[in-house]
């Protein structure tokens, strides 16, 4: 299986060059700021009750939000896996949309709905004839957690639903035939069956909640702070690099520990099994329809209503329908602060996103095959698997400074190169794509491939007829995340220096940097364009046929 292990080389090389090297460089600088090696930051963290509490709080809120996210996503995923109804796959694909928006826009969308002057309060106030808002969620833990769930719900839903759909419903039916129903069915049949996808989703959602930055600060009114925020403060504002470096190491350490426990577990929980995917069927009877309707209503209210509020606000100007903001976006002149026309920005964003998607999918498939093939050295594999998750654990600001300090000389003089943008995006996207592909790949029983080979199928044919139908879905889900992550300028890429090339999110940030209704309206309009591009691409991706089945 030496050939398989070679496949690990490209992803490991990529991460080593563009993550490991910058990280080691900036940490080296951080810990040698004064004379000699300065590790006092670690002492300060251990000695400070505030920092200890911060680590506990950050982990705790992440765990809580993860449990809630999975708890909500699980029943919905069941409905998506088992039944089909008109518009289902589009709906599932579109749940990813919140991912692409800048935090300040997501906050605006949520507040437009449940804020003190939002729609829900307006309605409640007019019904109850009260003058004060009845629901006051701003600056509470409730809205902070709700925002985390809003962001991550689709990660859990799509991963679990995709995995679930690849399993035959006959196992469940057999169990039901034997009288296993209700909670027992969940506990004894469904949860064990779904464990690989559940753990994958939980891991990503947890890591993502752990490193939460903007949305928590905006909705929490400064009271809720994560380790990531503290790293930013210590780096940018206090320029205390020894402490910032130590905090970075702590964050990477905590998250890497979680990841390694997971990758270790993954080996034991995924037992290859012969799966015969049966096409989802139309719901029968009111009980099944009830589930379908409930999931649809919940998605519309929970995810699409805030986004719709955004769209509505971008086209309602002074109480009337108007596309003036979209017009202003197209014509930089009076009332616009932009140097680049937004259409060009949109084109550039899509270009970066396509490069990112291609790069991330190729690297992730290499990684997944390399890891899945290496069965004899499971321990080594799970460590490498864990290290491939590293990009999600590194603080964006740390990595940004790492780029500046490490990639500054030929042959890797990339710090002002436009190439650094898709590279940074790929770093953020890679873990998502790997986690979308690997569980499905590990679940393919060896016997299936051997049987195909015995029957005379070539290696390529096995890949196409056996692997692709089973892994393809995961690949496409991963590809949509890679595209979205790039379109949304996730994390470190915001700290990447670049010549006058403006992506759509940068246009939004710049518009939101100055006062004036026109700037704000144009920022909303640009956000809607961002949403529309992603929605369009999702629907395209969802129409791609993979192997025998529809790839949703």
């Amino acid at each position: 299986m030496i050939r398989r292990a070679v496949l690990l080389l490209p992803p490991v090389l990529f991460l080593g060059l563009f993550l490991g090297y910058p990280l080691v460089t900036i940490l080296g600088i951080s810990f040698s700021a004064g004379e000699g090696v300065d590790l006092s930051g670690f002492g300060r963290i251990i000695g400070s009750a505030y920092h200890r509490e911060l680590i506990i709080y950050t982990s705790g809120q992440a765990a809580l939000a993860t449990v809630i996210t999975l708890g909500l996503a699980l029943p919905a995923a069941g409905v998506f896996a088992r039944y089909r109804w008109p518009g289902k796959s589009t709906m599932l694909a579109l749940t990813t949309l919140p991912f692409v928006l800048p935090p300040v826009i997501v906050a605006a969308a949520l507040l437009a709905l449940v804020g003190e002057r939002g729609l829900v309060n307006d309605a409640l106030m007019s019904v109850t004839r009260q003058t004060a808002p009845l629901i006051r969620l701003e600056r509470t833990a409730v809205i902070v957690i709700a925002a985390q769930v809003f962001y991550n719900f689709s990660v859990a839903l799509r991963m679990i639903a995709g995995y679930w759909a690849a399993h035959s419903p006959r196992i469940e039916e057999a169990a039901q035939g034997m009288g296993v129903t209700g909670w027992r069915l969940w506990r004894q049949v469904r949860l064990p069956m779904l464990r690989p996808a559940l753990f994958s989703a939980a891991l990503l959602v947890f890591v993502f909640n752990f490193t939460s930055f903007g949305i928590m600060l905006i909705l929490g009114g400064g009271q809720f702070v994560t380790l990531e925020v503290e790293i930013y403060t210590q780096t940018m504002s206090l320029f205390n690099l020894p402490l910032a470096g130590a905090l970075s190491v702590v964050q990477i350490g905590v998250l890497l520990a979680v990841v390694l426990v997971y990758t270790r577990l993954q080996r034991t929980i995924i037992t290859p099994r012969l799966t015969v995917a049966v096409a989802a069927r139309l719901p029968v009877g009111w009980r099944q329809w009830r589930g379908v309707v409930a999931v649809n209503v919940a998605l519309v209210l929970g995810i699409f209503a805030p986004l719709a509020a955004l769209v509505v606000r971008s086209v309602i100007v002074n109480g009337e329908l108007s596309f003036v903001h979209y017009g202003a976006l197209a014509s930089p002149g009076r009332g616009s602060v932009l140097a680049a026309p937004p259409l060009m920005a949109a084109g550039l964003s899509v270009g970066y996103a396509l490069i990112t998607t291609g790069l991330a999918v190729v690297l992730a498939v290499c990684a997944a095959y390399g890891l899945a093939g290496n069965t004899r050295r499971a321990g080594v594999s799970s460590v490498i698997d864990g290290l491939l998750m590293l990009p999600l654990t590194v603080s964006a600001v740390t990595l940004g400074l790492g780029f500046i300090t490490a990639l500054d000389e030929p042959p890797l003089n990339l710090r002002t190169s436009p190439l650094l943008v898709p590279i940074a995006h790929t770093l953020a996207a890679l873990p998502f794509v790997i986690r979308s592909v690997l569980p499905a790949l590990l679940a393919i029983p060896r016997s299936l491939r051997e049987a195909a080979a015995v029957m005379g199928a070539s290696h390529a044919m096995v890949l196409r007829r056996v692997d692709l139908p089973l892994v393809g879905r995961g690949m496409l889900v991963g590809a949509s995340y890679a595209f979205t992550i790039s379109m949304g300028e996730f994390g470190a890429s915001l700290f990447v220096a670049r010549p006058d090339a403006h992506t759509l999110p940068l246009v939004i940030y710049r518009l939101l940097g100055q006062p004036g209704a026109s700037n704000y309206g144009q920022a909303l309009a640009a956000s809607v364009i961002l949403l529309a591009i992603c929605a369009f691409v999702f629907v395209l991706i969802e129409r791609v046929q993979v192997g025998e089945g529809r790839a949703w």
Binding site: V324, R415, G513
Partner: protein
């Protein structure tokens, strides 16, 4: 599969050998300016510089002012550009201490108010001036019995409970300026220090946003179309003219106004400097002259919403009409800022958020 790997490695080598854009051009033909994200200008004005000097200007934007300074310090040995624009008086000492700049005393300085020149070695040159002030929602206070506050102490009055939104001083430069204002006004020792003030203000529960954008658009109700509920926000004295200039439909009066009473505003000055290690020294000097020349100074107000430092520069009509440059803004020595900045931020965070 080997083909994929070969392709990948070839790609990496290609990327490695591809020199970055600024370096690819002939030396001397491009001047690279590192700036914060808000460095905005009219393209034609910059092209005029290129026409005069034959040198094209490339701008690298490095995030906010703090990020700009930190990245420049960390890349000091191998700087990202020839000139830096955008370090302000609140972070200037950090940049000077790191010895980032080559001194240059511009001949154009004679048109500039000397009060703005904070470094007597001329390592940096003042380019813009503005003030951090409270802004208020004009309609809200017109409908309310509450008077518009004309003293910082008013904000601690229970009548002003939950009316103020502000950016976090630890995360945002206008937030830091507002903290410095309270330090300058109330002092660090005595019966009533700046921390006593913040303890009293905390009772009134100001909304603390991570940055200016979240405070102004997310929490402030005065912004035209804004969804916030707070009628007071920490912003700039030049925000009201921006509300007029960037209105959707022409406005007679600004929906917001700045409070420019004495001891209510903090002066912010932004500087440019020539970075050590440039091989474009002559052009870099010309560029500094250009930044404080009349042409660029008159272009600035409507792009960056700051005031010119050049006394000969004319203000655009919307500034003449709607902007007020505070008569007695509060200032602070950069040495004092340098000695206290981190301590004040830590103390503020302790009082307000922990």
């Amino acid at each position: 599969m080997f083909r994929v790997i070969v392709f990948f490695i070839a790609g990496l080598l290609l990327m490695g050998s591809a020199r970055s854009l600024p370096a690819a051009a002939q030396p001397g033909s491009v001047l690279t300016v590192v700036a914060h994200d808000s460095f905005i200008y009219t393209q034609a004005v910059m092209e005029a510089f290129t026409e005069r000097t034959g040198v094209a200007v490339e701008v690298l934007r490095l995030g906010d002012a703090g990020n700009l300074v930190n990245q420049s310090i960390l890349s000091r040995e191998n700087p990202l550009g020839d000139v830096m624009f955008g370090v302000d008086n609140t972070f200037l000492s950090r940049a000077l201490e790191a010895d980032l700049f080559v001194p240059y005393e511009s001949t154009a300085l004679e048109t500039i108010d000397l009060a703005f020149v904070l470094d007597d070695q001329h390592r940096v040159t003042p380019v813009t001036v503005g003030d951090i002030c409270l802004n208020y929602d004009v309609a809200y206070f017109a409908d309310s019995d509450l008077p518009v506050p004309d003293d910082l102490r008013d904000l601690t009055n229970p009548a002003y409970r939950e009316l103020l939104a502000m950016p976090n001083p630890a995360l945002s430069s206008p937030g830091l300026a507002f903290l410095l204002l309270t330090v300058a006004v109330f002092g660090e020792v005595g019966d009533y220090t700046y921390l006593d003030y913040w303890r009293d203000l905390a009772v009134n529960q100001p909304y603390i946003a991570p940055d200016w954008t979240a405070a102004y658009y997310g929490a402030f109700r005065g912004a035209d179309g804004g969804i916030g509920s707070h009628p007071l926000v920490v912003s700039y004295a030049s925000s009201p003219p921006a509300e007029v200039f960037f209105a959707v439909e022409p406005l007679e009066t600004a929906p917001t106004a700045a409070i420019t009473e004495p001891r209510m505003c903090f002066r912010q000055i932004e500087f440019a400097g020539i970075l050590h290690g440039t091989d474009n020294l002559a052009t870099a000097r010309q560029f500094i002259d250009f930044l404080i020349g009349r042409e660029f100074q008159e272009d600035m107000p409507l792009n960056m919403f700051v005031f010119p430092v050049n006394e000969e520069a004319m203000l655009p009509p919307v500034f003449e009409e709607h902007a007020v440059l505070p008569a007695e803004p509060v200032t602070m020595d950069i040495e004092r800022i340098d000695a206290g900045r981190e301590i004040w931020i830590e103390a503020w965070t302790e009082v307000m958020l922990r």
